[in-house]
Symmetry: C2
Subunit: 493 residues, 2 copies
Amino acid sequence: MAKELKELTSRSQDYSQWYLDLVIKADLAENSAVRGCMVIKPYGYAIWEKMQRQLDDMFKETGHVNAYFPLFIPKSFLSKEADHVEGFAKECAVVTHYRLKNDPDGKGVIVDPEAKLEEELIVRPTSETIIWNTYRNWIQSYRDLPLLINQWANVVRWEMRTRLFLRTAEFLWQEGHTAHATREEAEEETVKMLNIYAQFAEEHMAIPVIKGVKSASERFAGAIDTYAIEAMMQDGKALQAGTSHFLGQNFAKAFDVKFADKEGKMDYVWATSWGVSTRLIGALIMAHSDDNGLVLPPKLAPFQVVIVPIYKGEEQLAAINEKADGIVKSLKASGISVKYDNADNKKPGWKFSEYELKGVPVRLAMGARDMENNTVEVARRDTLTKETVSCDSLDIYIKNLLDDIQANIYNKALAYRTEKTITVETYEEFKEKIEDGVFILAHWDGTAETEEKIKAETKATIRCIPLEGDKTQGKCMVTGNPSTQRVVFARAY
Amino acid sequence: MAKELKELTSRSQDYSQWYLDLVIKADLAENSAVRGCMVIKPYGYAIWEKMQRQLDDMFKETGHVNAYFPLFIPKSFLSKEADHVEGFAKECAVVTHYRLKNDPDGKGVIVDPEAKLEEELIVRPTSETIIWNTYRNWIQSYRDLPLLINQWANVVRWEMRTRLFLRTAEFLWQEGHTAHATREEAEEETVKMLNIYAQFAEEHMAIPVIKGVKSASERFAGAIDTYAIEAMMQDGKALQAGTSHFLGQNFAKAFDVKFADKEGKMDYVWATSWGVSTRLIGALIMAHSDDNGLVLPPKLAPFQVVIVPIYKGEEQLAAINEKADGIVKSLKASGISVKYDNADNKKPGWKFSEYELKGVPVRLAMGARDMENNTVEVARRDTLTKETVSCDSLDIYIKNLLDDIQANIYNKALAYRTEKTITVETYEEFKEKIEDGVFILAHWDGTAETEEKIKAETKATIRCIPLEGDKTQGKCMVTGNPSTQRVVFARAY
C-alpha cells in the first residue's frame, strides 16, 4: 500500500502529470460528475480554510467587511459595461427555466417549457455588475464612501480545458468591491490590496511574487489598470496568483452610481475590485512539492505535526500513548496543530509515506528506545532530514523548527526563481532561452502588436510590468523602438 | 434623521411589516434585482459569520470536516431517489446553455442556441444526490467509515413567495452529509446533530427550542425520519430552525454505495444529512427584537459594546478620546468586541437611536461629568435601562453584564413560550385557541388524514412529535382514536 501511495509521476518525467497525480493521491480534489467542476476533498478544503481565515483577517484589519450578493446576474446587466461584456459574457452558465416536471413517459423529469424565464440569468462569472447595480442605492453622498466590501463566493466560467484547482468551471474565491470619492483613493486601494496579496503569498504561502501592472491586452475586462502578483512554478512557468483592478468610473457610469461631494457637486464614484481563488492551492502545490508528495508551509498546513508511535505489543503502546498525550497537550498549548496517529490497522512505514505525501511539515516518531532516553525522532518534510532530540522543551524546539521550515521553503522558492530569471537583449536569445522554462526580463516597446507577435511565436506572454526593481530605459528586443523599462515574460498557467 | 431611523411599524400593528421594516432599517438585507434573491448587507452578514464560526467549531469538535461539492447537479441525478425527486426536482433553477453571443442586431447579448447542454444542470437545491454519487468512489470498506463531512454553500429553490432571510430563492446554509456502517450509528449521528443545533439555538441564539420528530407528511424528501428544532416567534408562530435527517439506505441504494464489513460482507451504507441556513437570522430577529429595533444576544452581536462620547469642543473630546481608548483596550483584552464612535458628523442622540436599532447589547456614554467622576453611563439594549457605574474594573462589570443579558434574553423568550404554550383536549377548543397565536399540545391519532384536515381547517401544522416531556397516551382530539403522546401544533413560517 505504501508503495502504491507513493507512485507519483516524477516532476522531471512529466510535470503536468506529477501535479495531477499529487492532487489526486494527496486527497486534495477530484473531478466531479459535472463537466469541469471539481470536488474539493476535506484535506484540500482544510488548506483553503487556512487561506480564507488568514486573508479574511487581513481584509478586516484594513477596514473591509463581508457581504453577500446574488449568485445570478440578469443577462442585460452584463452588456452595460462595454468591455466587461466582451470579456465575461461568453462562456458562462445560463439559467433559462425555473421548473422541472415529471416526464409524461414516466421516466424521470424534464424541463417544464411553461417555466421559461422572461430574462435569462447568468451564474456569476464575477460580480461587478450586480454589485454596482446594488451600490447605486447605497451611495448618495461622500459620507457613504468609501464602501469597502468583500464577498466569499463561488463563481462559474465555462472553461473548455480544465485542470484541478488551476482552471475549473466552478471555483471558490473572494472578490473585493470598493467604492471611493476620488481617483487617488481608489488607486491607493488597488495597490494596497495588491500588497496584501503579495504579503499573504510570501509570508503564508512561502511563495515569492513579482508585483506589477498588466499590459492592456491582459487587463481585466472593464478595468483601467490591472495589477497582479506573479509566481514562478517549479517548471519555470508563471502563475498569476492574485489580481487587483482599478476600475476608474467605468462601472459607476454603466450603473449610474453618483455621489454628492462636500460641496454638493455630483460625480461618478471610483471603483476597485480584487480577488484570489482556489487557484492558490494549485500554486501552493506547484511551487513547493517534490517527487515524494506535498510540501506544505507550516502556516497553511491543515496540521503541522504528526506523531507516530513505533511499538511492539499493548504495553509499549500504552506507555507511548501516555508520553505522546503529554506532548500533544504541550504543543497545542503553544498553538501548534498536531495529530497523534496510533491507529493499529496501519504500519509505521505506511504512515510515514502517507504523511510525507500529505506534506505534514514535521513528523515525530517515538519507539522503545526513545522512551528509555526521553527522546523523539524529528523528521522535516522540507529537507527530508531526521534527528533525535530530547523531549524536554520540545514545544519550543518545534515552534522554532516550524519557523525554520516556513523560512526555508520560501528561501528555496526564491533561490529557484532567482536562478531561473534572466535578462536578455535580443529576440533571438529570447526565443532560445524561453524554452528552458524561465522568467525573462526584456525590453518591450509597449505595443499590443509586438506583444501579440511574441506570444504567437514563443507562447510567452508579458506577465507584468514590475512595480519594483530596475527601471532603466532601453530598446524593444523585437522592434528596437524605445522601452521605458524591462517587463517580465514567461509562459504561464 | 433619528426619527426617521426609528420609524418601525410596531409589532402589535403589523408583525410582518415590523419584521420587514426592521430587516431593511437595521441594514441587515434587502431584495436584489434578481427575483427572490437577497443581498445580505455587511451588518446582517456579520451575524451570519458569528453563527458560522460557532457552528463550525461545534461540528469540528464532534469530528466533522468541511469539503466542497459542485453547485450543479445533472438533471438525471434528481430522479434517482424516488421521494427526493418529488420533493426537490420541481421549483429549481435550470441551466440549459453554456454560452452567450453578441446579438446580431448589435444590442447586447443573446443565448447561443449552438451551446445547448446535452443534459440540463440543476442549481443545487440540496446536495444529497451529487454527494452520494461522489461517495460511491470514496467508500469501499468499513475502514472508510464513518465519513463525517459538512459543506458551507449557497443553494437555490425557486420560491414563489419570498421574505428576506425566511424564504428566499437563494440562501446560504451548511449541509452535513455523513455515511455510516450501521443503522444505529447513523441514527445516533442524526440525534447528535439535532442536539448540537438545539444547543446552538439555546446557548448562542438565546432561543429555547423544542426537539422532535416530524410527521411523515413533513419529512424531508428521501428521509426515513426528519428531526427538527422548533422555535416560537413573538407572534406565537413556529419557525423550524434546523433539521437533521436519518436517510436510512435510500441514497446509498439510489447511487449504489456499498461497503465491505469486517467479515467482508457487502451492504449498503447508512446516511444522515442535516442543515441550518440564513433563515436563522430571521428567527433571531423575530424571537427577540422590539419596537425600537433589533435585540441581539451578546454571543452573536457583530459588536457587543458601543461607546459614544458626549462633548462640547475639541478639548473635551480629546480627553474623552483618551479615556475611551483605555476602556476599548481593556474590553478587547477581555475578549469583548467594542466600537468607539466619535464621528463628529452625527449627534449623540442620533447615535443612540442607531445603535438601539442595530441591537448593540451595551451602550456606554461618556460626558464631562463622567470624566470628573471616573464614571460611565451604561445602557442595556434588552431592558432599555441605564445606570452610572465606575470605570474601575469596568471590564469585569461588562463581562458579567453581557452574560446577564444573554441569560435574560433567553429567559424572556422561554417565559413567553411557556405562557403561549397550552394543552387542549377538544378540537373545538383547538380551533378557538389557535387563533391566539400559541403552541398547542394535543393528542393526534398519527394519521396523515387527520393532520391534513386540521391543517385545512385551521392552518396549523404538526410542528413535531416532541422527544422530551410528557409521553402520556390519550385520544386524538379529532377522531378519538388512540394517540401515543401529545404533539406540538402551531401555525408556522
